[in-house]
Symmetry: none
Subunit: 213 residues, 4 copies
DNA sequence: GATGAATGAGCGTTCATTCAT
DNA sequence: AATGAATGAACGCTCATTCAT
C-alpha cells in the first residue's frame, strides 16, 4: 500500500526509486537491505521517502508487487489460452521457456522472489504482502488447476502443497544455474528448459502416468 | 572451531548457551540473529562468550555442527547397511520415517539448516562451515550415489544438481508441514512420509522407470 | 571531506564540536582519542555526529585542516614577500616570531600536528589527509626552496630531508618549551625565537657559511 | 620494576616473553599494543603474566629497560675513552657509526624508542620509566658534557635542550632513512653517517666555530 | 509537498584486569 | 608458583524512524 503520493510522482523518479530498492533488496534480502542506502542510491530525500512509503516494509511490498506484475503478464497470457487443455505440458514448456529467458535477463527479480521467502511466512501471508504472495502462488496454482481439470496434473495432494513443491525445485534450479552460470550459459539453454520441465512434470503428473512424456 | 575452553564447561552451561544460540539463529538466521541477545538469554557475560568462541560465526558453526551430528547418526547407519542395494527405495523410506520423526521433535534444527542456506554459498563452502556443509550434502549425496549404483537412481543429470533438487523439495515439505502443523500432526504421519518419499522417488528415478513403484 | 551538512551548522555548534575534537585528538592522538568522548564532550547525539562526518578519520581530517589553515595564513604572506630574497634569514626570523606567538596561544594546534605524525605515513600521504600533509611540508619546503635560490640555504642534501630535519628540531623545541613552560614564559621570548632561528640556520646554511650570522 | 619472580624464570621463557612484547610494542606503540596478543604470542598464561608483571606498563618498562641496556654498552665504552677529549667529533663519529650499524640490525629497538616518546612526557619522567628515560638522555648528555669540557660543544644553551634537539634530528633522520630505505641501503652508508654527524656538529658546535670541520 | 537534521538503541568486538583455585 | 575462567566497560559504527520547518 504505497501512498497515492508515490503514484503521482514523475515516472522517472518512481523508476529511480524502485530500481535502487530492487537492487538492494535483491542483493541483501529484506532484513539485510539498508533503507538508508536505498535512499542514497535513489537520490531522494529521507523525508520524501517516508512521505511516499510508510516504512521499509511498505517499500518492499511495492517493489515486490511491481516485480510480480511482470510475471503476471508472462503467465497471464497462458491462462487465457485454451492450449492448456489440449496440450498442457507442451504449453507449460512454452511458458517455461519464456520464463527462463526472462530470468536470465532479470536475475534481480529472481533474487527478489527469494528474499520474500526469508521473511516469516505467517507475517507474509496475512500482512500487506499477502496479496502479492497469493498472486504469485495463484498464477502457477491456477495453471496447475487447469492442468488438473485437463487430467494432466495430479489431484491426490493439496494444490497448495503441489505449488510449494514446484516452487522449491524451481528455486533449487535457480540456485544451481546461478552457481554453474558459466557452464549453464555456454550449454544448451533449451536442454535446461526441458530438464526443468521434466522435473516439474515428474512431480505433478497424476499417479501412474509419470512415464507418459 | 569453538575454543577448547567451551568443551570444558559444565554441561548445563554449555547446553544453556547452545540452546539460546540455536533458538536465535533458527528464528532469525545468521545475519539477523543478535549476538547480544543470545548472550543475554544464555545468562553469560559478554567477555565470557568471546572467551569461548572467536566470534558470532564461530558460535554459529558450533551450533550447526552439533545439529548436523544428529543427522549424521541418522543417515550414517543407513550407509553401512547393504539394504540400500537390495531395496533402495524401501530403505530410503525407513530413513525418511526416522528423519521425519526427528524433524517433528526438533523443528529448530530444521530452521537452522535453512539459515545455512542464507549465507553466501562460496563463503560457506570454503569457510569453517564447509566441513559441515559438505557433510550434509555428502550424506544424501552418498545415499543417492549408492542408489545410482543399484540402478534405482537416475544418472542422466549431475549428482550435485539432483541433491540440490531433493533438498529444495525437502525444504518445501518442511515449510508446508510447519505451516499446516495442526492438520499435519493430527493427520496420519505415515501418509506424510509416503507422500514425501513418493515425490523424492519421482524426481530421482531413472528415466522410463518413474512408474515402477 | 566533512559532509556539507556540517558546514551549514550554527557556528557555535560547529565550534563546540571542533573544539572537543581538537582537545581530544591533541591530548591522545588519533588512535587514542575516543570518538564517544568527543561526542559526549560536544553534547551531540551519536547519530548526528555520523550525520556530519563519515567516520572518526573524517572528523580528524576536518580538525587538522582547520588547524592547518591558520598556518597557511601565517606562512603564506611570507612567500609573497620579496624580502625572502634580499634578507632570507632576517625574514625567516620575522615569520618564526609570529609562529612562536601563535604556538603559545594555541598549544593544541601543535599537539595536533604531532598526532599527525603518529599515523602510518604512507596512509597519511595518499589518504584524505595527504592534501593537508603536503601543504604543511610545502610551506616550509617552499620557503627553503626560496632560500636555496637566494643562496642562503644549502642544496647539498635533499630538500625533503632538510625539511624533515627542521621539523624534527622544531618539534623538539616545542616539547622543550612546553616542558619548561614557566621558565620559558617568564624568560625573554625574543631570546627563544633567536635561539630557534639560530639552530635552524646552523642546519640549513650552505656548507662553509655556517658562521655568517 | 618487574617482580623478582620474572628474573628467576628460565632464560628461554624470559626471552620468549620479552621478544613477543618488544615486537608488539615496537609495531603498535604502548597504547596500541594488545596485552592479550603479547600473552598469546609468548605462549604464557594470563595469570602468569600478571604474576610476573604488575600490569601492561610494567612489562613495557622491562622491555624498554632491556633495550636500553644495549645502548648503554654501546655508548658506555665511549665514555670511558679519553679520546673524547683529544678528538671529540672524530670519536663521536666512530660511535655514531656503530650506532647506525646497530640500528640497521635492530629496527625494533628504534621503534621501541619512538614508542617511548608517544607517552605523556610528564608521566614518563616521573613514573617508573623515568629511570630509563633519564638513562637514555644521560648517555648522550654525558658525552655532550665531555664535549663541553673539551671545548668542542657549545655551552650557551641548556645541556638538556641541546640533547633534546639532537634527539629530534636523530629521529628525523631515522624516519627519513626508513622511508627511503632502499635508496639508503644501496647508497653509501658511510656517507649517511657523515651527513648525520655533520648536522649534529652544526647544532652542537660552539658559536663562532661552526665552520671548523 | 517535501526536506534533511536529529535521534539513540543497537551492532559485533576488544580490552586490561581480577581472582578463585 | 601458576592457572585460565570470567568480567563489563568501552570501542567505532549503522540502523529505521521522527519531526520541525
Amino acid at each position: 500500500m504505497p501512498r497515492a503520493r508515490f503514484e503521482r510522482l514523475e515516472p522517472e523518479k518512481q523508476a529511480r526509486i524502485l530500481e535502487a530498492a530492487t537492487e538492494e533488496f535483491a542483493a541483501r534480502g529484506f532484513e539485510g537491505a539498508s533503507y538508508n542506502q536505498i535512499i542514497e542510491k535513489a537520490g531522494v530525500s529521507k523525508g520524501a521517502m517516508y512521505y511516499y512509503f510508510d516504512d521499509k516494509m511498505d517499500l518492499f511490498c511495492t517493489v515486490v508487487k511491481r516485480a510480480s506484475s511482470h510475471m503476471t503478464e508472462l503467465w497471464g497470457a497462458a491462462l487465457d489460452s485454451e492450449a492448456l487443455e489440449s496440450d498442457f505440458w507442451g504449453t507449460f514448456e512454452d511458458i517455461a521457456r519464456k520464463q527462463a529467458a526472462f530470468a536470465f535477463e532479470h536475475p534481480e527479480m529472481m533474487a527478489l522472489g527469494k528474499s520474500l521467502m526469508e521473511l516469516d511466512p505467517a507475517l507474509v501471508r496475512q500482512g500487506p504482502l499477502g496479496e502479492v504472495y497469493a498472486l504469485t502462488r495463484t498464477w502457477i496454482g491456477r495453471i496447475m488447476a487447469r492442468g488438473q481439470a485437463a487430467g494432466a496434473v495430479r489431484d491426490d495432494i493439496p494444490l497448495e502443497l503441489l505449488v510449494a513443491l514446484l516452487q522449491g525445485v524451481g528455486e533449487a534450479f535457480d540456485r544451481w544455474f546461478v552457481a554453474h552460470f558459466e557452464e549453464t550459459m555456454s550449454g544448451d539453454p533449451e536442454a535446461l528448459v526441458q530438464m526443468t520441465v521434466d522435473v516439474f512434470r515428474r512431480i505433478a503428473s497424476p499417479a501412474g502416468q509419470e512415464v507418459r512424456r
